[in-house]
């Protein structure tokens, strides 16, 4: 019984139930209206409910016919480092500017893989910081600060 909780079908179905339920319940606050004069909640309520049904069918199918297709291992290292790289880019872009944001994003992103070397990543970081500054700010004219003092 416990393995069904790790089956891809079952988990995907439950995810759909959660997402559909969230939208369907949220839609109740918007005013449903009638089919003739639809309120803003009508379409989300219908879609959310159908999604809940689809999710339940998928999970039920997993219980009914065990495919034995279990969810693979989650590799947290790339996920966390890339998440951090993007958030770091966003924060530094607003506070210090594009050059620092590029340097930081490349270096944090490099933590995602064991194959990266410090020297190689530093080189990519410098090239990206200079290249992006020239290409996007000087040449394409994006309204980004290169360096805020």
């Amino acid at each position: 019984m416990a393995t069904v909780l790790r089956e891809k079908d079952f988990l995907a179905g439950m995810a759909f139930v959660a997402i559909g339920g969230f939208f369907a319940i949220g839609a109740l606050d918007f005013g449903i209206g009638t089919a003739r004069r639809m309120g803003p909640g009508y379409f989300p309520l219908v879609l959310g409910s159908v999604l809940v049904l689809v999710g339940m069918a998928l999970s039920a199918k997993a219980l009914w016919q065990r495919s034995g297709d279990l969810v693979g291992r989650l590799y947290l290292r790339p996920v966390i480092s890339l998440f951090a790289a993007i958030v770091g880019f966003a924060v530094l872009l607003e506070t210090v500017g594009l050059v620092a944001a590029c340097l930081a994003a490349v270096l944090i992103a490099s933590l995602a893989s064991r194959e990266t070397t410090l020297l190689g990543s530093l080189a990519v970081a410098v090239v990206m910081a200079l290249g992006c500054g020239l290409l996007f700010v000087e040449f394409l004219g994006l309204p980004m600060a290169l360096w805020r003092f």
Partner: protein
């Protein structure tokens, strides 16, 4: 037919200096992206999309579609040399292409795949020019009920054909449709699911979603530890590229069969280049007098799928351009581009902006010619690019994603959205939930709601309006049939898998 005056208008537009430049940049970037494994055309298009905001709408379309069919050319390079598909549509080419590469004849399949792609692309383009106006003339009669049904069919077909699990893809379509509704409701002005964040009123940008699910999630998955094969450095002289006389003769019919198959399948929503190339391979194996050669370096195994995927890449534009209903993620992105440039997609595009439609068609033909010249003499260059290690490449991709997403609205809020959606996308990909249906739903969501509302307003709330019109009723019947057939097939497959598992456990 007034195909020829229209084509001459198209070529006149496409031959302007700036459009030629956009076309070249598009196909060049496309070849590059296609050649690099782990970077798909959808990623590249979504990364470059924000930078085309300032272009003329036609220029933007030319550049972005160039990336798409350019990637079809470039993708075979990685398949043949690395046994790693550059794009999913080129995966099957690896079977015979890589076998030939191991025999020291890598240049020949590279050359033949460029030629086959060219043949497939050019013939399919003629079909686009003939078929799209014909479909438009029917679609002009469509009312909101027909539109709603048509979009429904597009979404159902895309989920039914493209993947193994219908319930999953339909679920992802629904998630996409729901995400598309986030933001201000155009009719009532009410904020929906914005969590009180003012910038969310504009909705969730499809560009951010595409970059998160096709860019960031891809990088995350690629970084999972598994071995990468080493590259074989091929000889790329002219003489090495030439097929033998026998191989050339066998390739003629193969490329035409591949083109026919790809053109037919490409125009259907959901099927697209990937399925066409797999089908073309199977067909070639069936009709061949020497099926045992396949997998060991048969030239037909390269030529057929390559002609098919490129033909499908071209005819895939038919539903997008004529009905305004995209068949796959690339069509969805191009449709989004039209909307950003203030052009309402649909059958009116061809009559209101003929230069846009015919200019794009002409540019694709020019692009195919350019691709032949970019690919064949510079095979050596693409081989070198393949040897850039991924550890240096992926941090650069992350920075490009960040800058691209930021420039969607010049705001860092989109970056936080990118990071969050990227993690969500990784979890969904772990559950085998495909991202393309979500993107289709996201783009079509607001349009579907609007047409549903209009149809029911006109019929005074009577749902019968969807079945009373013969066109809409017929489309809905087709939808229903498709759903029933797919669900039945899926359950049968599930039961077979179950019984085979039980047998295994029993012994």
């Amino acid at each position: 037919m007034d195909l020829f005056p229209n084509l001459s208008l198209g070529f006149a537009t496409a031959f302007s200096l700036s459009n030629l430049l956009y076309c070249f940049v598009g196909v060049f970037v496309g070849t590059l992206i296609g050649a690099l494994p782990g970077l798909g055309a959808v990623t590249a298009i979504s990364m470059l999309l924000p930078f085309t905001f300032g272009f003329e709408p036609l220029g933007a379309l030319i550049l972005l579609s160039g990336i798409f069919y350019g990637a079809m050319y470039g993708g075979s390079t990685a398949s043949i040399l690395l046994n790693l598909p550059g794009t999913p549509a080129n995966a099957i080419v690896a079977l015979d292409g890589y076998a030939l590469a191991q025999q020291g004849r890598a240049a020949m399949p590279l050359f033949m795949s460029a030629v086959a792609s060219f043949v497939g692309g050019c013939i399919a383009l003629v079909l686009v020019g003939v078929a799209a106006p014909a479909i438009v003339s029917i679609a002009l009669e469509f009312g909101p009920a027909e539109y709603f049904s048509m979009m429904l069919l597009g979404l159902v077909a895309a989920s039914a054909v493209a993947t193994t699990s219908f319930l999953r893809s339909i679920g992802m379509v629904l998630v996409g449709l729901l995400l598309g509704l986030v933001g201000m409701d155009i009719v009532s002005g009410m904020m929906r699911f914005t969590f009180g964040i003012p910038i969310m009123a504009e909705g969730i940008s499809f560009i951010v979603v595409a970059m998160a699910l096709f860019g960031l999630t891809e990088v995350m998955s690629n970084l999972e530890p598994h071995g990468r094969p080493s590259i074989t450095q091929p000889k790329t002289g002219w003489r090495d590229m030439m097929p033998t006389r026998d191989e050339a003769k066998r390739s003629v019919w193969t490329s035409l069969r591949g083109t026919a198959l790809g053109s037919a399948l490409g125009a259907l929503p959901g099927a697209g280049p990937t399925i066409s190339s797999f089908m073309a391979y199977t067909v070639e194996q069936r009709v061949s007098r020497h099926p045992e050669r396949f997998g060991k370096g048969a030239v037909e195994g390269v030529v057929g799928p390559e002609a098919a995927n490129n033909a499908a890449a071209q005819t895939g534009f038919i539903p997008t351009l004529s009905l305004g209903i995209p068949g796959d993620a690339v069509g969805a992105l191009l449709l989004g581009t039209l909307i950003i440039h203030g052009i309402q997609p649909g059958p009116m595009v061809m009559s209101r902006h003929p230069e846009l439609f015919w200019g794009l068609i002409a540019s694709m033909w020019i692009g195919n010619v350019m691709l032949l010249w970019i690919n064949i003499p510079f095979i050596g260059l693409w081989v070198k690019i393949l040897s850039i290690p991924y550890r240096l490449l992926y941090p650069a991709i992350v920075v490009f994603l960040c800058i691209g997403v930021w420039s969607v609205a010049n705001s860092t809020f989109q970056l936080y959205l990118l990071a969050g959606l990227g993690v969500a996308g990784y979890v969904l990909s772990k559950l085998d939930c495909p991202a393309s249906p979500l993107l289709l739903g996201l783009i079509l969501g607001p349009m579907m709601e609007e047409n549903l509302r209009r149809a029911l307003l006109m019929s005074r709330g009577d749902f019968g309006t969807f079945v009373e019109s013969p066109i809409s009723g017929g489309i809905l019947a087709a939808c229903l049939l498709l759903v029933v057939l797919t669900v039945m097939a899926e359950f049968r497959r599930g039961r077979r898998m179950q019984s085979s598992r039980l047998e295994r456990n029993g012994t």
